[in-house]
Amino acid sequence: MPSWRHVTRGLRSLLNRSAADRDIADEVEHYFDEAAAVLRSKGLSAEDARRAVRLEFGHANNVQERVRAYGWENVVDTVGADLRHAARQLSRRPAFALAAVATLALGIGATTAVFSVVYSVLIKPLPYPNADELVRIRHSDIHGERSFSETMYLTYREENRTFASIGLWHETAGDADRPR
């Protein structure tokens, strides 16, 4: 179960990294000193005790780094550092940066243009109420689509038991949005 402390402690060390780092350094140092003190009480010299502790636990800095690496706030830190690094690298090579931005702009622009056409032609609902209930009646047989005569339309309209109503439109050049 995640606790609110994950949030508050993480924020605290994010907002005051140096204090958090100092706490970790103090804690590790205290740990190492206590370990050395135990060895000294067994008769080792101060120098030998320190060396033995270092041999056993590795360098204090490594231990600090390991403890410091815990927590979600380090992800924020790392991502921030990556972004700063990227910005520096790009500003150092403006020609490359420009080429990258232009490539992105062209790519995004072309995709948007194609999508807006596809959307208005294929996806956008027709401008009528309950547009999703509209269907188009076609006549076809094995030879393909057949034309639809006006008398056929009248017959369909009289015999209709399936649709709420049936209408007819005629394709002409001009405004295709208006029913005719």
Binding site: R9, I24, H30, D33, E34, V67, G71
Partner: protein, 110 residues
């Protein structure tokens, strides 16, 4: 076989909670107690221990407090919270169940 082994994977949290159920302690105190009570079988690595302490504190199972030590140094002391105590009971019960199951398997005639 090496007499000192690392703490069994996944049991460090339980050992920390158990050790702190006696009294509040600082990091090295916990490591030393675990080594002593296990008669040197388990060796605790400071990197793992201090990270685990941070994790357990954030989980709300431990509270920590900086205290002045006898030689006027500051040391971070950890204490078990009430929910830490409940967690210890749950983990102990779970561990006992698993250990008994493993023991039954190892003792069974193949």
């Amino acid at each position: 076989m090496d007499a000192n082994t690392d703490v069994i994977q996944g049991t460090l949290d339980m050992l920390i909670l158990k050790t702190l159920s006696l009294e509040p302690m600082h990091g090295f105190g916990i490591a030393r107690r675990v080594e002593q009570i296990s008669r040197g079988v388990f060796k605790v690595n400071p990197g793992s221990l201090l990270t685990a302490l941070t994790r357990l504190e954030r989980a709300g199972w431990l509270d920590s407090e900086w205290r002045e030590t006898a030689n006027s140094r500051r040391a971070k002391y950890y204490a078990l919270t009430r929910s830490g105590k409940r967690q210890l009971e749950a983990e102990t019960a779970d561990w006992t169940r698993r250990a008994a199951a493993v023991a039954r398997i190892l003792k069974s005639e193949a």
